[in-house]
Symmetry: C2
Subunit: 216 residues, 2 copies
């Protein structure tokens, strides 16, 4: 029997992409799609998916809320795999509290998406996006802050803060009195650890995670 999957994302392009990836697998089967958290309960009741791929950002009812309600009201709730753009610590916390079984970055490669669905389908948890998970598995350390700063080193934190202040690499280099090459290394590490693609997304993640806050 193949694994039944429900896709919940307000972006049709993402839904199509996920469906294409998942339906290409003989052991996976997309049984329904929803564009909003409000549509989830009836679809779950009708199709009884084992796994729900849930976006966090949606109009009206977001993924965290939808997950919370789903797991609270259902007798045999499906496993929820939360999809997010950023390896965001706040989301990690909120989604865990809501009962999510795992995380998936939107930028994950198809093979990672497929594997993530299989993992949660067989009852295991996938507490971190692939990239982060690899880091945790490889280096397996967590500092006193726990997850607060996604285990950025002190220097990387400084660099992220300056990125979030709008500084370019040469400007950061001047500020920290190091070479531009060094800054590039730190920036690259920050991008990898946060699971984002470019500095703009890193800054967004910094704001969304509360690493930096508006005003002040």
């Amino acid at each position: 029997m193949s694994v039944a999957v429900l896709i919940v994302d307000d972006d049709e392009l993402v839904r199509i992409g996920l469906r294409t990836i998942l339906d290409a697998q003989p052991d996976l089967r997309v049984v329904a799609e929803a564009a909003d958290g409000a549509e989830v309960p009836p679809l779950v009741a009708r199709h009884r998916p084992q796994v729900v791929l849930m976006d966090v950002r949606m109009p009206r009812i977001d993924g965290i809320q939808a997950t919370r309600r789903l797991l609270a009201t259902s007798a045999e709730p499906p496993r929820v795999l939360v999809i997010t753009t950023f390896a965001n610590d706040e989301y990690v916390y909120d989604a865990l509290r809501a009962g999510a079984s795992g995380f998936l970055l939107k930028r994950a490669r198809p093979a990672e998406v497929v594997e993530a669905v299989r993992v949660v389908a067989r009852g295991e948890s996938l507490l971190f996006p692939a990239a982060i998970r690899r880091l945790v598995g490889a280096y397996g350390r967590r500092n006193a802050d726990g997850l607060r700063t996604a285990r950025l080193t002190e220097r990387e934190g400084e660099v992220l803060r300056l990125m979030a202040a709008g500084l370019s690499n040469p400007e950061i280099a001047a500020r920290l009195v190091v070479g531009v090459e060094t800054v590039k290394t730190h920036v690259g590490n920050v991008l990898t650890k946060l699971g984002v693609r470019d500095r703009t997304q890193a800054v967004i993640a910094a704001y969304e995670s509360g690493f930096v806050t508006p005003a002040g």
Copy 2:
């Protein structure tokens, strides 16, 4: 008699830069520097500057607050020229309410800095940073929203929102079903209107102005 200027900025590099620029002018004279809003009142009392170059972001007492207190408690208050990194509408509003005479972008060229100080010193107001001011002067329109969105057009607002979601130009083009060239045009217009250098700073400005908000 030369114009006495007080520089208030928590960043020493900025202070040095401003002092260098201003002291190079025969008609301008930096009489003191402060790194925090709390230091301002005594320095103003002692040196009686005609113009205070005030940063908005400072520890403890920020520039808006310092401006408000300064103008409220002094009999012959100096003119306050607020320095900010972004042509941010919230700041425009707050600083105007606080009594600031003008705005200055940190990225302004030395000649613009000097001219701005001269303008406010002779009692005129400089309500917008040079870039914005040019726009206002050239096109001189303000829509129903007033200043809320820095007079971004609807399309430009959409583009900024997608930028703040971490999308690249090609991704935005796909989302809006237009060409990448078109997106580049909009992005360029947004950067100009916000008075910022790159998309990262645009996203920061979007967060700082409340155009987009963390979480959700």
